[in-house]
């Protein structure tokens, strides 16, 4: 399957886990990281849970690299903005009228922890879960097959769509459309590129609808699947546990907020 995906194929215990087990773990980590009090919770969870799990899943290097490449613009921006423009506070140093504040830097570091947690958490899931097994497991717990169809189809058509957009861009350029220059020229280039792209793909809708209808898309029969997904009683229990942890975190946070 040549789908648009971050999946990294490896042989590991983490890859073999049921997709929903990993999904509920992802949720629990996300909720815990954002609701638990304490400023360094994000760093703690990444360092002691996500990174060891990534090592177990043999994707440590990919995870660190991708997390960094997605996070650094945020990290840079939050540190610059929040430390330099904090307003009143204790200055770290003063130089040519620039004085970063201690409180701002602290806030920035807390934010960086949250940003890295969110990125690394989602990426760990995306890298170790095959999109098609995720869909099958979602269907098994009762998600309508139309939703599963939308997700799988989207992942498959995005690469061909990006190619189509570039083809149209090249075609219009070869007809003399200017796509570089000042803002006005670039804005004018926009419409001649997107109209063919969108109109052309909307024309496909009809064909695709007929194609899936004649293949029994609207059938009520229970479908069978080529891919088998391993599941164990123990994993089902662990999944419930993760969900309970997530709920407890939210409840604890609300209670803590109300009491203080």
């Amino acid at each position: 399957m040549n789908a648009f995906s971050m999946y990294v194929a490896r042989e590991s215990g983490l890859h073999k886990l049921h997709p929903l087990t990993k999904g509920s773990l992802t949720l629990a980590l996300l909720v815990a990281g954002l609701t638990l009090p304490g400023d360094w919770t994000g760093y703690f969870l990444v360092l002691f849970i996500i990174l060891p799990l990534a090592r177990w899943g043999k994707v440590l290097e990919n995870l660190v690299r991708t997390t960094w490449s997605l996070s650094w613009p945020f990290v840079l921006s939050v540190i610059l903005i929040q430390s330099l423009f904090w307003g009143k506070g204790t200055p770290i140093f003063e130089l040519w009228g620039i004085s970063p504040k201690v409180e701002g830097a602290r806030y920035a570091l807390i934010s960086v922890g949250r940003i890295i947690l969110v990125m690394a958490d989602f990426l760990l899931f995306a890298m170790t879960t095959r999109p098609d097994t995720l869909m099958i497991s979602l269907k098994q717990v009762g998600v309508p097959s139309s939703i599963a169809y939308i997700i799988v189809t989207t992942l498959q058509i995005i690469p061909s769509f990006q190619r189509k957009a570039l083809t149209i861009l090249d075609a219009q350029r070869s007809r003399g459309l200017e796509t570089e220059g000042n803002l006005f020229i670039r804005v004018r280039a926009f419409v001649p590129i997107i109209l063919p792209l969108v109109l052309g793909s909307l024309m496909e809708v009809e064909e695709r609808a007929i194609a899936i209808q004649v293949r029994g898309f609207n059938s009520n029969r229970k479908e069978t699947s080529l891919v088998e997904i391993d599941d164990t009683r123990r994993q089902a229990t662990v999944r419930k546990l993760f969900i309970i942890i997530a709920l407890l975190c939210v409840v604890a946070r609300i209670a803590w907020q109300l009491l203080t």
Partner: protein, 255 residues
Amino acid sequence: MVENIKKEFSTRTLVLIPIAIAINIAIGELVVRLKLPVYLDSIGTVLVGAIAGPWAGALTGALANLIWGLFNPFAAAFFYVAAVIGLLAGLAGKRGAFEKEAPRWLSVLVGAVFVFSLTMFIFAFTNATTDETGFTTYPSMAELFSSYAPIFIVAILAGGAIGYFLLQRGGYAGIWGLVTGGIAAIISAPTAAYVFGGVTGAGQDLLVAAFRASGAGILASVMAQGAVSDPFDKMLSFMVVWLILRSLPARFKAR
């Protein structure tokens, strides 16, 4: 109610949604490639809302961001914002915003009011004063107007011109876009401020920095940044969809 929702999700709608999500991503990337100062990453979502209805629009928005989140978790955190955008586009479609032709004077009025209030908003923020106790006072509108009168007159004229040439006869779609953008700015700010420390890692951060420098809090700065960039962006998205729907052959629209 349930019957109505079911009717929205015909096989055609189900086929349309993945294509719409791909349109979101393809155009979003094209905008980056052309270096335009907007996002325009919800055109597909608005399109589904306009063609199929509010629930289909909301589902498209939510799924688009969640799927995008498999590659860039930043998008996933804002899935509820995208759902609201799709929902509002659907409501706009039900009211005929994408079909009715607005008179051109209305477009001029909308453009002028929008640019005027945007200018007022920015000045109100940059002229706000914070005293020692952290209490922020904003200048009164009349005061602002009298001290910056020439700028406001230019803003009104520029807004009118934008309305006349850009909105043209799509005034209704433009208004819905502006309102949607305003709502999106308000509901996305808490997540942006709490989870991401108020930054997007892109050019818009300069605006956040400017508002922070004027003494505003983090949440207020993020909201202000959104209020400056989101309504314009969503207005453009709604206008592009209006343009697309006008260029579609009648055969497609008839179904």
